[in-house]
Amino acid sequence: MYLAKIIITLRKSILDPQGKAVHHALESLGMKSVEELRIGKFVEMKIDTPSKEEAEHITGEACKKLLANPVMEDFSFSLEKIPTG
């Protein structure tokens, strides 16, 4: 069993107004050193397979086909083995 941790973010070239608004709020809290802030999505997925390659393949397909929209989003993920039973 593998646990996939997936991070989906707006592509760099796309303006993130939500991130900008939150950034402004941090600035008004006095956190002037925060230079940039972008907001994305986090997805966790448990995959029932003993093979890391297969888990990687399934996660990649899930991201490409549904979890992220390549027109506007980038994704990255990590996999960790979790004990079964």
Partner: protein, 248 residues
Amino acid sequence: MTVSRPKFGVIVFPGSNCDHDAYYTLKHVLHQDTRFLWHKNSSLEGVDVVILPGGFSYGDYLRCGAIARFSPIMKEVISFARAGGVVLGICNGFQILCEAGLLPGALLRNECLTFVCKFVHVRVEHAATRFTSVCASGEVLEIPIAHGEGNYFADESTLDQLERNNQILFRYVEQDGSITQRANPNGSVRNIAGIVNEGGNVMGLMPHPERASDPVLGHTDGQRIFLSVMKSVVSDEYIHDYTGAERS
């Protein structure tokens, strides 16, 4: 393919909320043969025009339209569209068409981050299409929008291609037809409010023509889009000949 009496199908997804408005406009204002098509259907029941209505299909989970695109009926809609069938996506329907890959680009969160619900002016960019044939190029229509994610985005090369092929059908403008930043309610690139696919048979737009169609409500500009579609399916004039634009 032409028919004497076109049949319209309005797809109903869980969370659609403008399905009845679209049905009412087509059936009771424009007197068309119209039916609802439940998203779990595996048949389009022989309709000539498919309407993907506005709303919040699947609660807008993940991304607007991302899950509706996998509803059983979308398989049929995609093959219908690929075979040249006429498909009109309104608001959430536009988002679904982009997610399904039937239209290029995507709809992002409004730049202002808020849900915007108001009348806007849109300019008809090209009248020689199935969706705009009863309009004149440059004509300004007053139609309401109601969305939180209507900020149209596509990369520069896609946008240039859309311009070259005359695929941008509607832009947000001032009342006098001029393109300004102020007239753009959601941050859409190049003020884009609606586009058509390369084949000219699939159109998506964020404004709601079905909300500006019943004379009782005081606005009828939206009718002009439905009238254009009706005209295009009863006569093949606009199917092969994109030069025959006229004003009726």
